[in-house]
């Protein structure tokens, strides 16, 4: 397997994520452009123009190119699993120079910036194992402004799902224009504190407009979209009809005494791209 070639693949994966938004997000923004008027329409118009320019120039659509975050599904029959982490890390270093992306990793104690988007525990990689011999890597570069609006609620189980809904709506109204709305909200319900936040972030991987398979949960997603949009916060918090493009919920079973709610907030730049590596080392970026 040619590690150097795969590192190039990682660079292409990151470039795709940073410069081209997925079609589902663009479609949702175009829909928002149609329904908005005034200042809100101007904001969505600027976003759409920005998306067009980023694709045309190959420049990252947002200067905050995020913390490099990857969700990796490793086929258990893939031959060189031990090389994947170093390939991803080297790819991130190369991407920092080649694309370029902003050097965004700072030591929390010393303030030192590695200037290559790597450091302790970053790039942040989540590993899952699956059948087969392919590796699927999803890049989700995550910006700081929206990440700062993440919340963990360790609710009393007695408040029930109504309490969960109220928590989410209240937090999104409190966040107002700060996470660069219209946002996509990922909600993890259940598990423990860490799992609920993880599920919230994983929920962001689902395309905009796709509902949870569980009909009851799907209804709650729709209700939350309506309630948050009724706030009138609007694009960039300047007022309007579109505060969220979508709300995605994932769940885990919980401890009887706990009702954790993990809220992961994604800005309109819901950057996602996917790379598949086959067992012979060939790859493609989608």
């Amino acid at each position: 397997m040619d590690s150097k070639d795969l590192e190039k693949g990682i660079v292409q994966l990151i470039k795709k994520a940073e410069t081209e938004l997925p079609k589902d997000v663009i479609a949702a923004l175009e829909k928002a452009f149609k329904v908005e008027i005034g200042v809100a329409k101007i904001q969505i118009g600027a976003i759409l123009e920005n998306i067009r320019l980023a694709k045309k120039t190959g420049h990252p659509m947002c200067q905050d190119t995020g913390i490099q975050t990857f969700f990796v599904e490793v086929g258990i029959d893939f031959p060189e699993i031990n090389k994947l982490k170093i390939i991803i890390t080297n790819g991130v270093k190369k991407a920092t120079k080649d694309i370029p992306i902003r050097p965004n990793t700072v030591d929390p104690f010393t303030g030192e910036n590695h200037k290559d988007n790597t450091g302790d525990n970053v790039p942040y990689i989540t590993w899952d194992f699956t059948d087969g011999s392919d590796v699927a890597i999803t890049a989700l570069p995550k910006g700081g402004g929206s990440e700062n609006m993440s919340k963990l609620g360790m609710l009393k189980p007695g408040v029930g799902i109504e309490g969960v809904k109220n928590f989410v709506v209240k937090e999104m109204i409190k966040a107002a224009g700060q996470p660069c709305p219209p946002t996509i909200v990922g909600i993890g319900i259940g598990g423990g504190a860490d799992l609920s936040l993880k599920l919230g972030k994983k929920a962001l991987l689902r395309p905009v407009g796709v509902r949870n398979k569980n009909k009851n949960i799907a209804k709650i997603e729709e209700e939350l979209i309506k309630r948050i949009n009724a706030s009138g916060i609007g694009p960039m918090g300047l007022g309007g009809k579109t505060t969220v493009l979508d709300v995605h919920i994932e769940k885990a079973h919980r401890h009887p005494a706990s009702l954790p709610v993990g809220l992961a907030v994604q800005c309109w730049a819901d950057r996602r791209a996917k790379m598949i590596i086959h067992k012979n080392g060939s790859w493609e970026v989608k």
């Binding site: 200042v39 920005n50 947002c62 200067q63 905050d64 370029p100 224009g177």
Partner: protein, 178 residues
């Protein structure tokens, strides 16, 4: 109303601007995030005069090509982080145009009235669009000390916008009216 201005904007023009107005500006702007605010406030003198420039809350992505810096992506950063510095910053550096996103707090609002200044919102995340409107990077200060996002970058921009007047010099805020 939509306006086009060449920076610096005259004080009497700042007074005319109201929440919801849209601006496009030509001229010089400088970037400053939390660390640059802190740093500039502590220094006795600084090597440039910010009073004829717009203050841009931004940590840009830049690339050096030959001996010139190029703007790759440069949207606004969350302004509320600068709230603890901004009233003092407006007073000390005599700026009258702030460009950011998400809005600012009461202390800034008071300073906007006192010193005849406006806070405008630029579309968050629109980094490629901003780069398109940046004609030239004129200078950079404290790059080694503060790093690329936190350094002070001075750039010349053309038709930079849309900037929405979000907090005006009369005490009004678009964020309160939603």
């Amino acid at each position: 109303m939509e306006y086009r201005f060449t920076l610096p904007i005259k004080s009497e023009d700042i007074k005319k601007l109201k929440v919801g107005d849209i601006l496009y500006v030509n001229g010089k702007i400088f970037t400053a995030r939390d660390e640059a605010h802190h740093f500039m406030l502590e220094k006795k003198s600084i090597p440039f005069d910010p009073s004829d420039m717009g203050l841009f809350h931004c940590g840009p992505l830049m690339k050096k090509v030959g001996d010139k810096w190029e703007v790759i992506s440069a949207g606004p950063t969350t302004s509320s982080r600068m709230e603890i510095f901004e009233d003092k910053f407006i007073e000390k550096f005599k700026i009258n145009l702030i460009i950011g996103k998400g809005g600012m707090g009461k202390n800034t609002q008071k300073a906007l009235q006192k010193y005849i200044c406006i806070y405008t919102s630029y579309t968050g995340g629109a980094g490629a669009l901003a780069a398109e409107k940046a004609e030239e990077v004129e200078n950079v200060f404290w790059l080694e000390k503060l790093g690329m996002p936190e350094a002070v970058w001075i750039m010349r921009v053309k038709e930079f916008g849309p900037l929405v007047v979000a907090m005006d010099s009369h005490g009004e805020s678009i964020y309160n009216s939603n």
